[in-house]
């Protein structure tokens, strides 16, 4: 008997178009070949739980995706100084510290709305007003586009919510770009000013697609 229970020739297999009876070995082989239909295209790459031991986390395995998705939940800093948790691209293992653009819209529960922007920034803007106080955390997500495409710039969008005693609960959303075409080797999520990341989870996903 040929593959997948067919005689004499087995049918071609692809995502969304599998035919036949599959042994565990078949499933293993087809999965490795990216030809086995398994729904759930938000692929977990890596998740870290902050423990006040470091000021940044490097995600150096980006897999093979056009779009990445980062979530940050219940983030607190070790410092009482309110600051951002931001993102930098890494190229050839080095975190890039200049040449970013961003635009950011802020909205606060006290009715204040404001915008900020820069075409000469040091990182991708992400979570604002991270500090260290009881029950005050920052939470959000960011999409990263074309980080692995050597012919494209690396782009970012984000949306977050944060609460802090000296700054009323607020949302923030915006976009960023690192306008240099190269293949990124990783992403760094880091405290922008001082101190370690005290608490919270940061998770990197890849958005799986099939051509």
């Amino acid at each position: 008997m040929s593959e997948y229970g067919y005689i004499p020739e087995s049918p071609a297999q692809s995502f969304g178009n599998n035919k036949g009876i599959f042994s565990p070995n078949d499933i293993y082989d087809l999965t490795r070949a990216d030809k086995y239909t398994q729904y759930g295209q938000l692929d977990l790459i890596e998740s870290v739980t902050a423990d006040d031991s470091v000021a940044y986390y490097d995600f150096d395995n980006l897999g093979d995706y056009d779009i990445h998705f980062i979530t940050a939940n219940n983030i607190q800093g070790a410092s009482t100084t309110a600051q951002n948790l931001d993102i930098r691209v890494k190229v050839s293992g080095t975190a890039i510290t200049s040449g970013y653009h961003f635009g950011n819209q802020l909205g606060s529960s006290n009715g204040t709305f404001s915008e900020s922007y820069s075409n000469s920034y040091s990182q991708f803007y992400f979570l604002p007003n991270v500090d260290n106080e009881t029950n005050a955390t920052a939470n959000g997500y960011s999409y990263i586009y074309n980080a692995l495409d050597s012919k494209k710039y690396t782009f970012q969008t984000f949306q977050v919510v944060a609460s802090q005693s000296t700054h009323t609960p607020r949302f923030s959303y915006g976009m960023g770009v690192y306008p240099t075409a190269n293949q990124c080797s990783g992403l760094r999520v880091f405290m922008a000013t001082t101190g370690n990341i005290d608490e919270g989870n940061i998770t990197l996903y890849g958005i799986k697609a099939y051509s």
Binding site: Y39, Q41, H101, Y153, S211
Partner: protein, 172 residues
């Protein structure tokens, strides 16, 4: 089953004035995400959207929108129309130079398959203009104000999409 994205299909266009994503919405999902990371264009212009129904592309004045355009070098711009627009405007702004600068879009679509409700959209996009040295970020909402089943989506602009790739997911 745990919630996740379910890949539906990838749609690719080469040298097309209108990029049609047909038969992408079904009864299987209530919410969809359309993600685009690859846009190549030969001229600079805004991208707009229109829905596709059983009769084709809806070019009528059936769209409402509210969009904020964020820049990296100047004050932001807000625009909106309540019910008289013929397009879902300001989806992004594609710049042609080298095509390395047309970035990303996530467009979330709600209730397209329902014949008894409007179809709603939220989106966020980002591109970059080399000549202006300016980031173009757009965030907003669209409503197609006709209670009917929507089966697909068309993206258009002045000038072609030289190359565009969209991945469509159901959210479950």
């Amino acid at each position: 089953m745990a919630s996740n994205l379910h890949f539906i299909k990838q749609v690719e266009g080469t040298t097309v004035a209108d990029f049609n994503m047909t038969d992408i919405f079904t009864s299987e999902f209530e919410t969809y995400q359309i993600m685009i990371a690859k846009w190549d264009t030969a001229n600079d212009d805004y991208t707009y959207g229109r829905i596709i129904n059983a009769s084709g592309v809806d070019t009528g004045s059936n769209y409402a929108y509210a969009v904020q355009i964020l820049y990296s070098d100047q004050a932001f711009y807000n625009d909106g129309k309540s019910n008289s627009s013929t397009t879902m405007s300001y989806l992004n702004y594609c710049y042609p130079a080298g095509n390395e600068n047309n970035g990303g879009l996530v467009l979330t679509v709600y209730n397209p398959n329902s014949s008894s409700s409007y179809t709603y959209f939220t989106f966020q996009s980002v591109t970059f203009g080399n000549i202006a040295n300016r980031l173009y970020g757009m965030k907003g909402i669209y409503v197609h104000k006709v209670a009917e089943t929507v089966t697909g989506l068309q993206l258009g602009r002045t000038g072609n999409f030289d190359h565009i790739v969209a991945d469509i997911y159901g959210v479950k």
